[in-house]
Symmetry: D3
Subunit: 281 residues, 6 copies
C-alpha cells in the first residue's frame, strides 16, 4: 500500500518483514494523545490487518521518544459536543454519551479481536488510554523508560474503554490492580514486570523495545498461521469460559483445523528436521 | 456518632481523617476471634459506612499486638445449637446450618459490597476467617509480623465464608492457592507478598501497617468519589464478567457518571494545575 | 491390587503410603510419549482412584531420567486412521476427529475431575501434552532438570486437550501465557516458578521431586478427607463461577459436610492437642 | 401475632389455615397503589414469612373489589426528593436514583426469594407494578374481572423493578411479551391465560379467586416442607442455569434432603396408604 | 432521502408515517431470495435506521404477493467461490466459510441489534432464512396466506444464521421447536400462532398484514422514545441474563433514563389527561 | 445384534426400519418401574446408539398397555444401602447419596446427549421419572391414554434427575410448571398438549402413539445425518447460551459441516427434484 493512498493520517502502517505489519501511533508532537480521528483510525487499521492474508502478526508502537501515549487528547475532547453535553435533557445527553463510549470501546476492542497476534511495544509515558490499549495486546513488552498510570480517576472518571474490564483478567495480583486503578498513581516498568502486566522488560527506549518486538514478531511470522491464529482464538476463549465450554469449542475448532495442510507439513518437517513454509490464510 | 450511642460493642468505628472511616476489630483479649455477635456487627458496620456520604474510603484493622484475628471463636461456636446440631432430623439440621452459613457469608460479603474502597491492614496471627475477610478487601497490606493460614481443613471442614470462592480469582498462581488451602499450612508475609496475596509489605507491626493504610486512605479520600466508587464497581464487575459484558455495563455506567460535576472539575483543575475538591456522594 | 492383574500396561499404580496413590507414566524408552493406549489408561486410572476409598491423595510422576513426557507419540498417531483422515468426505472426517479429540480431552480431564487432590511431580522434558496434563493437577512441583514447552504450534496445530482452556485461569500473567503458547518456545523451570506455573522448584531430578511430592502427599493423607475433598471441589467451583454462585453452592455443600464426624473429631482433637484420625470416605 | 402489634400498616398478614400465610395489600381507597411505605412493608413481610417455621405456603391478594393494584402511587412519588431530582449534579442525582431503584427491586425480589411457594391471586385492575409483583409469584391465578397492563412505557419509562427481567423467562411467546411491554396496552385475563402468564382463570372477582388460591395453598401446606421448598429452590435454579449446572447443584442439595425424616415418612405412608404429617422446617 | 440517491438496490426504505421506517425486501421476481448483495444491504439498512433520530419504529415486509422470502438465493450461492470451496486446503476452506457465515450472521443480527423496535409482517412463502430473520424481530405478525418452514435440513445443512440460536428462546414449546427444525416440514400460520411463534394472525395477504403492522407502528411511534427503546434493550437483556444480572443493569440504565424530560412529560400529561409529544432521541 | 447376545435384560433394542433404533422399556409386570439395573441399562443403550453409524434416529417407548413408567422401583430402592443410609456418619452418607444421584442423572442425561434425535412415545401412567426421561427427548408424543405427574413431592423429595432442571427451559408457562411440580397432581394429556409439554397428541394407546413416532422417525432417517445431528447439537446449544455465544459456535460448526458431501448432494437433488441418499456418519 503506497503512502500516497494511505487511509491513515495519524497512524502509519508498514510491513517491515514478511507477514509482519507494524502499526505506528504517529502524533509525537501531541505525545500521541488520542483525538476523535485517531480513535477511528485505530479501529480501522486493526480491522484491516485482521483480514489481510499478507499479515500474520502485528506490532504496535508509537512515535517520538517521550511517550507511547499520554492518553485522551483533552483539548480535542473539550471541543466535542457529545462529551461536553450541549444537550440539556439528561437522558438524551446520556444516550449520546453512551453511543460515543461504545464507539470508542469498539475502536480499542478491534485490537483484541484482530485475528492475528498483536505485540505491543511500549516506552516513555504510558498513561490512561495507554493501559486500555495495552490490555488488548496478546504480548506486552516495555522499554526501561516506560512509566505507567491508570490516570482516569484523576480526571474525575472511571476508565471506560477497557482497563477495568480486562486488567483483572490478565494480571493475577488483584490487590495491586485495585491499588493502581483506585490511586491513579504512576508505576514503574519494574513494578509492571514484577506484577506480570508486561512479560519482557527491555533496557533502552523505543528503538530497543521495538527491535525486540520485531524479533518476536519474526518468530511468529514463520509459524503455521492456522496454528498461531487458532491458538490466539482459543486462549481468548479459554480466558472467558469455563473449562468444559472451552474444551467443547476447541474440539469443534480443531476438527477442521487439523484437516489443513499445515498440520501435515509441520509434522513432516519435524520428522525430516526441515523448516516448513505455510500457505497464506 | 458519639461513642456513647455506638451500636458496636466488639468493633470500634472512628473517622480519623476527612472522609476516612476506620473499623477496628476490637476483641484483643480473644485474639479478635469471631463470635456470633461480632459477625453480626461486622456486617452491620460495613452496610452503614457504605451508605454514609461522609465516608469515601474505609480502613479495616484489628486491636492488640498479637493477632489480626485467630478466626472463628471456637468456644462460642460450641455453645451454638445450630452449629452443634441439637436437631435430630438430618434435613432440618442441614437447613438450619445452611441458613447460618448464608448469614455469615452475608456478613463478610458486606465488606466486598461496600460501595467505598476498603483497605485491609493486617498483622500478627491471620488465620482462617482472617483470609476470608482479607479476600473481601480491595487492597491488602500486611505488617512484617503477619503469619497467615487457611486453617479450615485442620478443623475438619472446607472454608465456607469466602476464601475458596475468592482466592482463585484474586491471586494468579493456582498451584500455590491450592497448596495453602489443602495443607492448611502457615505461610509467611514474604510468601504472601511474592505470590500477590498482599500488595504492600510494611516493616513493623500493627501500628506501622495502619499508618501506611491511613496514608493510602488519605490519597483516595481526596479524589472524586464518583470516579473512585465507579472504579471499584467496574473492577468488581470486570472480575466476574466477560469483557463484552463488562464493556456494555461500563458504557451505561459512565453515560451518567460523566454528566456529573466531578469530571468537569477534575478536568478543569488539571488544566489550571490546581487541586479540585468534590461534593459528597 | 497385585501387579499380575493390573489393568495398566503403560502406567503403574502403587500405594507407597497409607491413603496415597502413586501413578507412574511408564514408557521411559519412548520418553513417556502418549500412544492411544496410554491415553485410555490415563483416563481409566484417574477414574479408578477417584472412587477408591483407600486413596485420599494422588501423586503423578513419570519413569526414566530424561522426560516427564515428550508429548504425543507421533509414530502412533501417524498410523491412526482417524487422525490422518482416511475418510474423504470433509464433514465425516471432521466428525471422527471431533470424537477423537473429545475422547482425549476426557482422558485428561479425568485427572482434574478426580475427587482427591492430585500432585504432579515433573522433571526433564515436559513438552506439549505434559503441559495439558500438568494444568489438571491441583499442585505442580518440578525438578530443576525440567524444561517446558507448549509445543503444539510447532507441529502446526493449536493445543486441544486443555492447555489453552486452563492455563489462562491458573497463571496470572497473561502476556507470558500468550508468549509461551504462541511461540512454542522452551521455558525453564526458573521461569515456570517465577511466573507461577509451578509452586515448588526442587533441586535435583525425578527422584528428588518425587520425594518432595510424597512428603506433601503424606501431609494431605492425614487430614480429614471430608475437609480435603470438599476444599478441592470448592476451589474448582470458585475458579469457574461468580463469587455469589460459589457462595451459594458452598453453603449447600457444607450444610451436609459439617454434619459429619470429622468436624467434631478435628475440633475436639484441637482442643485436646491430639492428632485425630478419620474414617474412609 | 396479634393485630395490635402488627408491624404492617398498609398490608395485613393473617394465618387463615394451618401453615398458610395470607398477605393482603390493603390500601383499597387508593386502588392499592404503592407508596414508599408500602414498598418497605412488602419487602419486610416476605422476609418474615420466609423464615417463619409456621408458614409453608403464602397467598398474596389485594383488598377492595376494584384493583389488585393500580401500580406506583404517583402522588407519593411526586413528593419524593429522590425521584423528582432535587439534586442538581447529574451524577449524584443518578446515584440516588439508582439506590432507590435497587431498594424497590429488593422489596419486590423478597417475594421471589421467599423460601416458601407464593400463590398470587389477582383481580380487577392489575397495572404496572402489578405485573412486576406477579412475575415473582410461583403460581399466578386471576379472576375473570382482571385486566392487565405493563403500563410503564405510558409514563415515559422502562419498567425497572422486574417485569422486563422476568417476563421473558416465564412466558414462552416472546412476540407477545414484546407487544404488551412496548405498547403498554391493556390485555384481558383470557389473553393472559392463553399466553401462559397465568395458569388458572377463575370466574368471579376477588373472593372467588382467593378461594381457589386458598384451596391450592391447603394442598401445598399438607406436603413435606423439605420436598416443597426444595422443589421451589431447584425450579428457580433450573430457570437460570444450564442443565449441567442445575444437576450438579441438585445432587448436593438432595444428598442432604434425602437424609431427612420426610422422605422416609412419605415413602412409608405411601406403602401404608396413609396420610403422613411432617415436622416444621 | 430521495430515491435517486438510495444506497439500496434490492431493498426499499421509506418513511410512510412520522417516525416510522418501512423496509421492503424488494426482489419479488426471485421470491425475495437473498443474494450476497441483498445480505449486505439488509445489514446496512438496519444499522442506518438504528442511528436515525427520525426513526422510532421499523416495519419489515416483502414485495410481491407470493413470498416473504424463499430463503437463500441458491443460484447466487452456487456461483460463490467461498461457499462452493474453490480452495483445496480443508482448513483454509473452513476459515473462509467461517468468515462468510459470521458476515451473514452479522447482517441478520443488525436487525435484532437495531435500537428501535422492529415489527415483521410476513405473508406467503416464509422459508429458511425467513425464519432466521423473523426471529430477530421484536414483534411477528403474519397474514393468513403465510406458510413457514425451517428448510435448512432439506438442503443438507443446519441453519446457521440464527434460527437455532434464537427459536428455543422465543417460543415456549421446545418439542414443537425441535420437530419443525429437525423435519424441515411446512407449518401453517395457524400452527405458528398457536405455538406462539407469531403474536397476531391477520386475515388476508401482504397488504392486510402490512396495514396491521403500520397501525401497530403508529402506536409505538407516539410514545416516549426513551421509554420504548429502553424497554427493548431491557427485554433483550432480560432474555439472556439471570434475574439478578438484569435487575442490576436495569437500575443503572434507569438511573439516567428517569432524568430525562420524557418521564416528567408523560407523568404530567397523564395527570392533565393530555397527549404528550417527545423530543427526538 | 442378535437377541441372544443382547447386553440388555430390562430394555429391548431393535432396528425396525433403516437407520431407526427402537428402545423399549420392558418391565411391564412392574409398570416399567426403574430398578438400579434398569437405570444402568438405560444409560448404556443411549451411549451405544449414539455412536452406532447405523442409527440416525431413536424412538423410546415402553411395554405393556398400562404404563410408560410408574417411576422409581420403590421396593428395589428400599433394599438399597446407599439410599436407605446404612452409614451412620452424616457426611459419608451424603457423599454416597450424592454419588448415586450423579450416577442416575448421568444415565438419564445419556438420552439428551445422544447425538441422534430421540422421539419419546408415551402412554398410560407417566409418573415421576417418566417426566425426567421425557424432558430429555427432542420430541415428545403421547397417546390419549397418558396421565402425567411430577410425583416426587408426594414421596417427600424434590425431583433430582432432571425434571426441575429441564422443565422450566422446555415449556413456556412457568406458572403451570410450578403448579404441577409443587402439587404433584396428575395432569391429563390434553393439559400436557395445551401447555406445550408434548407436541403431538395421538388418539389411542401405546400402539397408536408408537406408530406415529415410527412414521416421524422414518422422515428423519431419510435426511442428511450431518444436517440432522448438527441441528440437534445447535438447538441444544442455543437453549443454554446467549445468542452471541450460539452464533459463534454455529459458525465454527458449519465451517466444517458445509464441506461435506451432504450439502452438495441435497442441493443438487433439490435442483434435479430427486431424492438424495446420504452416507453413514
Amino acid at each position: 500500500m503506497s503512502s500516497t493512498t494511505s487511509p491513515y493520517k495519524l497512524l502509519k502502517l508498514t510491513h517491515p518483514a514478511p507477514y509482519v505489519a507494524h502499526i505506528l501511533i504517529n502524533r509525537p508532537a501531541k505525545l500521541n494523545a488520542f483525538s476523535y480521528d485517531l480513535w477511528i483510525e485505530f479501529g480501522a487499521v486493526f480491522r484491516a490487518v485482521s483480514k489481510d492474508p499478507e499479515v500474520r502478526v502485528v506490532v504496535l508502537s508509537a512515535a517520538g521518544d517521550r511517550a507511547f501515549t499520554a492518553g485522551l487528547d483533552i483539548k480535542d475532547s473539550s471541543d466535542d459536543d457529545v462529551l461536553t453535553g450541549s444537550q440539556e435533557d439528561g437522558a438524551r445527553f446520556a444516550w449520546a454519551l453512551r453511543e460515543r463510549i461504545l464507539l470508542y470501546q469498539d475502536c480499542v476492542s478491534a485490537m483484541e479481536e484482530c485475528a492475528k497476534p498483536v505485540i505491543c511495544a511500549m516506552h516513555g509515558i504510558c498513561f490512561g488510554l495507554a493501559i486500555d490499549i495495552a490490555c488488548c495486546a496478546d504480548i506486552r513488552l516495555a522499554a526501561s523508560t516506560a512509566t505507567f498510570s491508570v490516570k482516569e480517576v484523576d480526571i474525575g472518571m472511571a476508565a471506560d474503554v477497557g482497563t477495568l474490564a480486562r486488567l483483572p483478567k490478565i494480571v493475577g495480583n488483584h490487590s495491586w490492580v485495585n491499588d493502581i486503578c483506585l490511586t491513579a498513581r504512576d508505576f514503574s516498568v519494574q513494578e509492571a514486570f514484577a506484577q506480570g502486566f508486561i512479560s519482557r522488560l527491555v533496557e533502552g527506549n523505543r528503538e530497543e523495545v521495538l527491535k525486540e518486538a520485531m524479533a518476536l514478531a519474526g518468530v511468529l511470522a514463520e509459524k503455521s498461521p492456522v496454528a498461531v491464529q487458532g491458538t490466539k482464538e482459543l486462549l481468548q476463549y479459554g480466558r472467558e469460559h469455563t473449562v468444559k465450554e472451552a474444551l467443547k469449542y476447541t474440539a469443534v475448532w480443531n476438527s477442521v483445523a487439523l484437516q489443513g495442510d499445515d498440520f501435515k507439513k509441520a509434522l513432516g518437517a519435524r520428522v525430516m528436521r526441515q523448516k516448513p513454509t505455510f500457505e497464506k490464510l
